[in-house]
């Protein structure tokens, strides 16, 4: 038939079309997922106790007093004993609170204490910014802030930071600076609860080497051998 056209032999190309409804559904689903994600209750990270076995491996040991019996010269033995005790005295746990300025240091890296604090008239902070503003009577795991009933700085005349072990030795034996005679010094080392904190510092802080009892035994042996100081 003239003028009539046959239908196109090519099949009509079908185009994939997305209607509004799936888009709306996807958007709604995304919003619902976001709300669920935001509102889903999360448990706070909890502190985990360190297994005792692992803890023992991590503890740095002190040499027993008997290890030094082989040193025949009494003065040399005394100095060697004090050098061993010095591993405790020079640990960050002790040094951080024996600063040479009015500011304590903190952490194993012995960085300046944050926030900024100053020793104040009694070594326990300035008015309205006392140590007790943050530090309690015991370590507090929730905040990581260490604590002890006696928390404060050593007197400035007992500054250890920047001093050699020999200078520290002569300092602690000088009652004018340590405010202790030898008997009181020994008691301080073995019985004082703030000194004891050095072995139970909590958190990620490295404890002082050994135990307070081992340390006390070394201090006693050092004093018994004359309390000699390294140069």
């Amino acid at each position: 038939m003239i003028g009539s056209r046959e239908s196109s032999p090519e099949p009509r190309r079908r185009r994939f079309r997305i209607g509004c409804l799936p888009i709306v559904l996807v958007v709604v689903a995304a919003i619902v997922l976001a709300i669920v994600y935001v509102l889903y209750p999360r448990t706070m990270p909890q502190t985990q106790p360190i297994p005792a076995a692992q803890l023992l491996e991590q503890i740095e040991r002190l040499r027993p007093v008997s290890d030094f019996d082989g040193i025949p010269d009494l003065q040399e033995r005394s100095i060697a004993l004090f050098r061993e005790a010095g591993r405790v005295l020079e640990s960050p746990r002790c040094m951080n609170c024996h600063p040479r300025t009015d500011r304590p240091t903190q952490t194993d890296a012995m960085r300046p204490h944050t926030p900024w604090v100053s020793r104040g008239p009694d070594g326990a902070g300035e008015a309205a910014m006392r140590c007790s503003t943050c530090h309690r009577e015991e370590n507090y795991a929730a905040s990581g802030v260490p604590g002890n009933p006696k928390w404060k700085l050593a007197p400035i005349e007992m500054a250890w930071q920047g001093k050699t072990l020999g200078e520290i030795c002569r300092q602690i034996l000088d009652p004018a600076r340590s405010h202790m005679n030898r008997e009181e010094l020994f008691r301080h080392m073995v019985e004082d609860e703030l000194v004891a904190w050095a072995w139970t510092p909590g958190g990620q802080r490295t404890p002082a080497p050994g135990t307070q009892a081992e340390f006390g035994a070394i201090i006693k042996a050092w004093l018994d051998t004359g309390g000699e100081c390294p140069r």
Binding site: A127, R130, S132, R136, Y140
Partner: protein, 156 residues
């Protein structure tokens, strides 16, 4: 465990773990949300409250040790020093975002109760533990001096 704590002149009975920071008890249980959570590790001062009159960081204060203490939060701090600080804060338009301000004010009030005429050094020392991300430190210091002046005027 149940604890009776004395907050803002009222006894509250709280059922919680004794190691819970006071900050969470104040905010979540007692709904005293003026005390802010900033860092949780005693580094910023936003959570400062008064415990028996002393400024303390409530994020590092376990519930079990404050059961026999008088706790005052920003919602109830009062007295001449608090009034002077409030007036000075308004006059100086101290806050910017305001998040740290309750801690700043609690520390400022505690300072003025201890030191009547603080020097710049006194202010810096007392307020050093209170961080302000908007850096309104100069206005804070000026407002504390203003408040101290107001208090001196009241006493002379």
């Amino acid at each position: 465990m149940s604890y009776a704590i004395f907050v803002n002149g009222q006894i509250h009975h709280v059922e919680d773990d004794g190691q819970t920071p006071l900050l969470w008890v104040l905010r979540d249980t007692l709904k005293l949300t003026g005390t802010k959570y900033g860092c949780g590790v005693a580094q910023c001062g936003a959570c400062t409250v008064h415990v028996d009159g002393q400024p303390m960081r409530s994020c590092t204060l376990p519930l079990e040790i404050v059961a026999s203490s008088q706790i005052t939060t920003i919602e109830a701090v009062e007295g001449a020093e608090a009034e002077a600080v409030r007036a000075a804060w308004l006059a100086r338009d101290v806050p910017q975002c305001g998040f740290c301000q309750s801690g700043q004010i609690m520390c400022a009030v505690a300072l003025l109760r201890t030191v009547g005429s603080p020097t710049d050094g006194d202010v810096d020392t007392a307020m050093s533990g209170n961080i302000c991300r908007c850096a309104t430190y100069n206005r804070i210091r000026a407002a504390i001096h203003d408040a101290a002046g107001t208090l001196r005027g009241q006493t002379t």
